[in-house]
Amino acid sequence: MPALRDLQRDFAAYLVAGEETPLLDQVADARVSAAQCLNIHRNNVAITLGEALAGVYPVVQQLVGSAFFADAAKKYSRAHPCRSGNLHDFGREFPAALAADERLKQLPYLPDVAALEWAFHEAFHGPHAPGLDPGRLRQWSAMQFPGLRFSLHPGMGLLGSQHPVLTIWEAHQAEQLPEALDLGIGAEYVLLTRPQLEVELHRLTAAEFTFLRALGNDATLEQATDAAIVCDDSFDLESRLTALVAGGVIVDVRE
């Protein structure tokens, strides 16, 4: 009689690989074989994990097709086993796994579309935080402004891609499959917020993306503005800052 841990390890090995296992001798045949009994659980696990991934990555599933997605999901579940009893935590490394999949080299934008879907998933479940009261900005003098640092909303997402990821994502939200998309439109930058219950996706310019990313990395206002102006010298700090505060993206300010 195996110890409980050994039995569970044998069971787990069978769920993952479906190989011959000493477990087969420990399972009583009712009317079907021990392997058939175990395969019910094996199928359940594959279905549950596959559906969890498909729930987070519906656009990727549309782009690669259901059959390929199911295969990719199976490989992913094996290479990156779920480490949490909460299925919402499963699938974080899926974009990287897609990037490493040789079969997908023809779809270079796919990993970034996947990253956008994971960012959406995180924004959906992310924390709520009240935006900065605009009045707080008036507490600082013009002299102090360049040195200010900002805290961004803990639940927001920020993503830059060399591919038009948001255009692709938007085109796959409708029931009908999209017309041919022009992938030549190049890089896109996306801010994800969740002001209430719905996740909102905002298209940013390269300068706006650079500015926000710098603020998120704890740059001062001056440093972030300088970085944005390198991208685009017409970057308008005042209107941008006003929009970020009004949109609840900035939640705190300090010197």
Partner: protein, 290 residues
Amino acid sequence: MLAGAQRYPAEPIPVRSGIGLRAAHYRDILEQRPAIGWLEAHSENYFGAGGAPLRYLEELRVHYPLSLHGVGLSLGSADELNSTHIKKLRHLIDLFEPALVSEHLSWSSIDGTYFNDLLPLPYTDEALRHLAPRIALAQDLLGRQLLIENPSNYLRFHESLLSEPQFLTELVTRTGCGLLLDVNNVYVSACNLQFDAHDYLRALPASAVQEIHLAGHAVNDIDSCTQILIDDHGDRVCDAVWQLFEFCLRVTGPRPTLIEWDTRIPTLDTLVGEAHKADQMLERVSARVA
């Protein structure tokens, strides 16, 4: 958004039917306020930091008594109890003040890998000695009694010397946990492993049963003469399970009863219709008892 000090009416789950809460029904339930006794939410669906699931549950909790039903605590695992999972569940309990909290007689993880399936335990002394202190510890850490649900079984281990009712009875005695009796699971297990579902129900400690689950299942053909029932919560409750439910109520007495429907989710009307059918049986049996 989540006011920690919020207090809900401290009402028990009524001896009526309730429905399993699914995201597809959040708005419909709030708008229609169907005449159901209570709601049961899958705990892990509300482990996020914020957003729609928690906001809707807050609103719904104002109108309905709540039960939290977990699928991911992996009570039967040989691993250490997952303290992150326990903390999140404890936080959820503190926020929503559920009248009942339940988990499964199963394991779903080993060596830190989670399979998110309710996997079977051998019903041995060793498993009992392992599981009882874990249930006791989980109850301590959660500050609550747990109800333990009987699983759907597709196999039996040779080394299982105890029957499932014996095993559950021992857990109740050793830990003070209660039981969540899933009548569909009893039916599915009885068909798959060929035992008498009525004997099973008679063998349980009736006073420990605080909640009943009903659900639909799928019938899979293994070959031309062999079928296996799969507990997929994807259909109406079948006639045989309704009959077993009626028998069960005579054994245990009337108990809060939940309709679970988690895949191929129907309209709210259909789900509420199933709940009202359960209510009618509860009333019939209550009248007979009284």
